[in-house]
């Protein structure tokens, strides 16, 4: 499986992480319409290309990460801790694979 460069732990096999899904804003529950809410629940951009999504480093630092990933090639452009904003080096280069 691909390497995912964790900002805290370094590049790790993606099996250490749990894929959470595409990241999107949560509508305000006080004003949301059913249509808007269910769009938030169910509809995905589901792009074949660059996608911003959330991963959880389950077998590592247990941080939620915002990952910019290409869904066809599995290249990874940026990885950012969702809470602290800490980023890691970009795509898993051969050097990073060490």
């Amino acid at each position: 499986m691909m390497l995912l460069p964790c900002p805290w732990c370094g590049p790790r096999n993606a099996t250490e992480f749990r894929f959470v899904g595409e990241a999107g804003p949560r509508p305000d529950p006080a004003t949301v319409t059913p249509e808007q809410w269910r769009h938030y629940l169910y509809v995905h951009a589901n792009r074949c290309g660059w996608s911003t999504e959330t991963w959880y480093h389950r077998a590592g630092c247990r941080r939620y990460l915002s990952v910019e990933r290409h869904t066809l090639t599995h290249e990874i452009r940026t990885v950012r801790d969702t809470a602290t904003g800490t980023t890691s080096a970009s795509t898993a280069t051969p050097e990073a694979a060490r």
Partner: protein
């Protein structure tokens, strides 16, 4: 003219006498140890060979020429490639099916049998299929057995008996497999001259290298060469041996290349291990598998005696076996020319050299169980028992394709070549797969590739190494003589089959592959793909380049399931009290990873003990999260459907979590231990999920909240003490004041239990009885449990298991998330009407629950009592509406020891959910019984017991 040996020749009285009948005098490069012999059996008859022999080289040395029968037509098959790929040399060895007889080394006592032959290899009844071949053309099974439909199962049974393969006995002895992780800078796939040179160069540049060779020795084609090649081989081997950073693996293959150079290497021949899977994350991969010699397609090309030039060279030079007596050689390249020289040096009469470079050709091979006559392009017929073909090469680009490369056909070289522009940075190619040249040129190129691989793996700084492009040598395009013959030997697919398929419309390479099954056999298409493409191209009038090639998929070579599985690492979790449970007859229950006592022999008795006296249950698997910080209440308010802001210190509240779609996710109690300190409990199965859920909301939605979460599920052993006498029992062991005035229902205290400090005591009641749940530091769990049992002996304390707990909670009407709810059950369908606070500003799932309430059409969780109190409708029994449709189902049901009648919970359509409604329950045996809808709480609806 020589006498041709045939398989029908009468067998010598003592077969071992013939063991070395075709063995040549010592050869310079031979790999056999003549001083020792190895005994084995072939179809029950004893044979011998030498260490270093493969199964088939030993049999060939004894004069055997037929090793299997083909899949469809049961034609006799012999040697073709004399390596791992050899389609005619698959044999059964003991319990092991499909052993590559031309690769597997002989070991003493091997029991080798031919596969799929009946009654014997020499006389196979199913060979009549060959006579019917014109009716069994490709795809015949799609065109017949259609009517009558009822007969297809019978036809199918017959088809299944034709399977060309070994057997797996149901009682196969277990094997030994393991796995290893590796992080080499460079993996080199292929240990021929290029692979060796690349490995040495990479190592010298500072890289750690894993050099992987499929055969039993490094060296590739140098091994079967002349004195110059052997000298070069010794030199390269010495260079490899001198580099401690190179790990050499022989009889091992790079199975595949996955994302970011995640590379499985399958290592065989390790003492004591059947196969080992090495999982390597490599900085760079050098693909250097050499070239695979391609068979020629012509009538009779599968007869035993028709072999590839490399096979002849291996047999003669590595195993010192004379492959025949009288040979015709069809050559289009130097390897074929060298085979002529090898044959002559081995004393084989070379009757005819057919040089394709001069436009000469071979039309057909004739014979029955072996080659007898070769029909040349000019019409002449030459008697021979050996026809050697050297018509060209296939670049086995499998690993490169898996890296994103798409091979491009080069007509001048008559082969597909990798497209270097489409290879990722961390994959390089060396050796014959990349181009042509003499050994010096290949080594020089590989040296540059090795240095560049080390650099790309981050092992050497500096500018990129210039890797010279290898030239590509001209080679005549020779694929098929146009006279028929087989394209795929293991699948018995003929050239005619391909042509027919194309004419019927299966005219793209992927469709023809699927229709004929060409290339889908054990050689993974390495022998068959290009011939398939070429024959298809000819049939459709397209070029080979236009026709293209199929996708090469993992694995490079088949891998045992044992090696892929490795040793089992399925974790199992036990509580610290497990030894006690085992000693006391607990029946185990598998609950996710946990093994728990289901009961101790008498679940009904355990229930009665709890209702009338006191019982204790091990509830260690309950999930526990320690929450600290000033914002915990905000977190709880967000995640639970009920309100948490006013929970005082020492108080406990039950909460339910829903997901954003309003579906019930988990439940449990959370207590406030201190001003900024809470302990949350979750269901056993939800412990990990809820932890991640909590972290998700904290980290992604509210990073500004100050909450720290620590999972403490296994830091504590948990014991629930339940029953009217539980206070009396616990009171004997704790300094915590249990007076109901000061420690009331739904409160929590910390203190000492049985001499153990820092225990957490909750007064809660899943069972519906007065009860205390005690979390004990895990190391003291067994101690506290044993003290409770000993101290409570006079109170009649009994341990109870999960089954009794299920009955107790069912009597009390407590739902179990995931049993009484399912993947679509929203809050108001789970009996939570009183709990859900729609007036909160926000909580997870709020909008959906608001709408669910407004619609008020969803199913409800109800109590259920069959009118016949002795009938317990099994869980999952369906509840029917008046029209006989499904109106709901029984989610929980038991005989209640307390009430002496059957009780249940059910999910039921809204219209039928009013208390007092009569419904029909369809039992699994088909009977219908009447039942009445009740309140879910069957025992002590006022909760007097709990609060007592």
């Amino acid at each position: 003219m020589s006498l041709l040996p045939t398989p029908r020749r009468p067998r010598a009285a003592r077969p071992t006498d013939r063991a070395d009948a075709e063995r040549l005098p010592p050869r310079a490069g031979e790999v056999i140890d003549r001083r020792r012999t190895v005994g084995f059996r072939w179809n029950g008859t004893p044979y011998t060979g030498h260490p270093g022999d493969t199964i088939v080289s030993a049999l060939a040395a004894a004069g055997e020429r037929v090793f299997s029968r083909s899949y469809k037509y049961h034609r006799p098959r012999g040697l073709l490639t004399a390596n791992y790929l050899d389609p005619g040399c698959m044999v059964q060895v003991g319990d092991e099916p499909n052993v590559r007889g031309a690769h597997r080394l002989l070991t003493d006592g091997m029991d080798v049998r031919s596969q799929n032959t009946w009654p014997s290899l020499r006389f196979d009844v199913r060979a009549v299929n060959g006579l019917a071949s014109r009716f069994l053309a490709t795809g015949f099974y799609y065109k017949t057995f259609i009517k009558p439909e009822v007969l297809w199962p019978a036809y199918e049974k017959v088809l299944r008996t034709f399977v060309h393969a070994g057997e797996v006995p149901p009682d196969s002895a277990p094997g030994h497999y393991d796995k290893r992780y590796a992080h080499p800078d460079v993996v080199v796939a292929g240990g021929g001259p290029a692979g060796m040179a690349a490995a040495v160069a990479a190592a010298r540049a500072g890289a750690t290298v894993m050099l992987v060779e499929e055969e039993h020795q490094l060296g590739g084609h140098l091994r079967w060469g002349g004195p110059a090649e052997l000298a070069r081989l010794a030199e390269l081997r010495a260079l490899v041996a001198a580099e401690p950073a190179i790990e050499v693996l022989t009889d091992a293959v790079v199975g595949a290349r996955f994302d970011d150079n995640w590379i499985p290497v399958v290592a065989r021949g390790i003492p004591g291990i059947d196969e080992r899977l090495i999982k390597a994350r490599a900085g760079a991969l050098v693909v250097a598998p050499g070239l695979v010699e391609r068979p020629y397609v012509f009538a009779g090309n599968d007869l035993p005696g028709v072999v590839l030039s490399t096979a002849v060279r291996r047999l003669v030079n590595l195993h010192a076996v004379r492959p025949g007596r009288r040979a015709v050689v069809l050559t289009a390249n130097p390897e074929g020319d060298a085979a002529v020289a090898d044959l002559e040096s081995a004393g084989v009469e070379v009757a005819e050299v057919v040089d394709a470079r001069r436009g000469e050709g071979v039309r057909a091979a004739h014979g029955r169980s072996g080659l007898r006559v070769v029909e040349l392009g000019d019409g002449r017929r030459v008697e021979a028992d050996l026809l050697v073909t050297a018509v060209g090469w296939t670049a086995p680009t499998s690993l490169l394709n898996q890296s994103g490369d798409r091979p491009v056909y080069e007509p001048r070289a008559a082969r597909f070549l990798p497209d270097p522009t489409r290879m990722p940075e961390n994959v390089l190619a060396a050796g014959g797969i990349a181009g042509d040249g003499d050994v010096d040129a290949l080594v020089e190129h590989a040296d540059a590739v090795g240095r560049e691989a080390a650099r790309r793996a981050g092992r050497s700084a500096g500018a990129a190494v210039t890797v010279p492009a290898l030239p590509v040598a001209d080679h005549p395009e020779l694929f098929s003589a146009g006279t028929g013959g087989f394209v795929d030997f293991s699948e018995d697919v003929s050239a005619k089959d391909i042509t027919t398929a194309a004419a019927e419309g299966y005219d793209s390479v992927e469709l023809v592959k699927r229709y004929t099954t060409a290339t889908m056999g054990p050689a993974q298409g390495k022998l068959e793909t290009v011939n398939t493409v070429a024959v298809l191209a000819a049939a459709t009038g397209r070029t080979i380049a236009e026709t293209g090639t199929t996708t090469w998929r993992p694995m490079w070579a088949p891998v045992t399931l044992g090696a892929l599985a490795g040793r089992s690492h399925e974790p199992v979790r036990y509580s610290p009290m497990q030894p006690w449970h085992e000693r006391h007859g607990a029946v185990p229950l598998i609950a996710g990873q946990w093994i728990r006592p289901e009961h101790y022999g008498d679940p009904a008795g355990e229930v009665t003990a709890v209702r009338t006296g006191v019982g204790i249950i091990d509830v260690t698997p309950i999930g526990k999260l320690d929450l600290r910080g000033p914002d915990v209440a905000k977190l709880l308010n967000l995640l639970y459907v009920n309100k948490w802001s006013k929970l005082g210190v020492g108080r406990v509240r039950y909460g339910v979590m829903c997901a954003e779609d309003g579906v019930v996710m988990d439940d449990g109690v959370t207590g406030r231990l201190g001003e900024d300190h809470y302990l949350m409990s979750t269901t056993s199965s939800g412990a990990a999920t809820v932890w991640e859920w909590v972290e998700n909301w904290l980290q992604t939605a509210h990073p500004e909240w100050r909450v720290h979460v620590t999972p403490v599920t296994t830091a504590y052993a948990s014991i629930n003490i339940a029953g009217p006498r539980s206070r009396e029992l616990l009171g004997r062991l704790t300094d915590v004041d249990l007076d109901p005035e000061r420690f009331g229902y739904m409160q929590v205290r910390t203190g000492r239990v049985a001499g153990v400090d820092d225990c957490v005591l909750w007064r809660i009641g899943f069972t519906g009885e007065l009860s205390y749940e005690v979390h004990v530091p895990a190391g003291y769990g067994l101690h506290v449990w044993e003290r409770l049992m000993a101290t409570g002996a006079d109170l009649g304390v009994r341990p109870f298991g999960v089954e009794a707990q299920r009955i107790l909670r069912l009597e009390k009407g407590h739902a179990i998330v995931g049993q009484d709810t399912d993947g679509l059950t929203q809050g108001f369908s789970a009996g939570l009407d009183g709990l859900i606070k729609l007036d909160k500003d926000d909580f997870v799932g709020l909008p959906e629950l608001r709408w669910q309430r407004e619609r008020d059409t969803a199913p409800r969780l109800v109590g259920l009592r069959p009118l016949d109190a002795t009938v317990v409708p099994p869980e999952a029994s369906q509840i029917l509406d008046r029209a006989g449709g499904i109106a709901g189902r029984v989610t929980s049901s038991r005989m209640s020891p307390t009430l002496g009648r059957s009780i249940g919970l059910a999910q039921l359509d809204r219209e039928l959910a009013e208390v007092g409604t009569r419904v029909t329950v369809r039992l699994p045996d088909g009977r219908d019984v009447a039942a009445e809808v009740t309140d879910p709480v069957h025992v002590d609806p006022e909760g007097a017991k709990l609060r007592g």
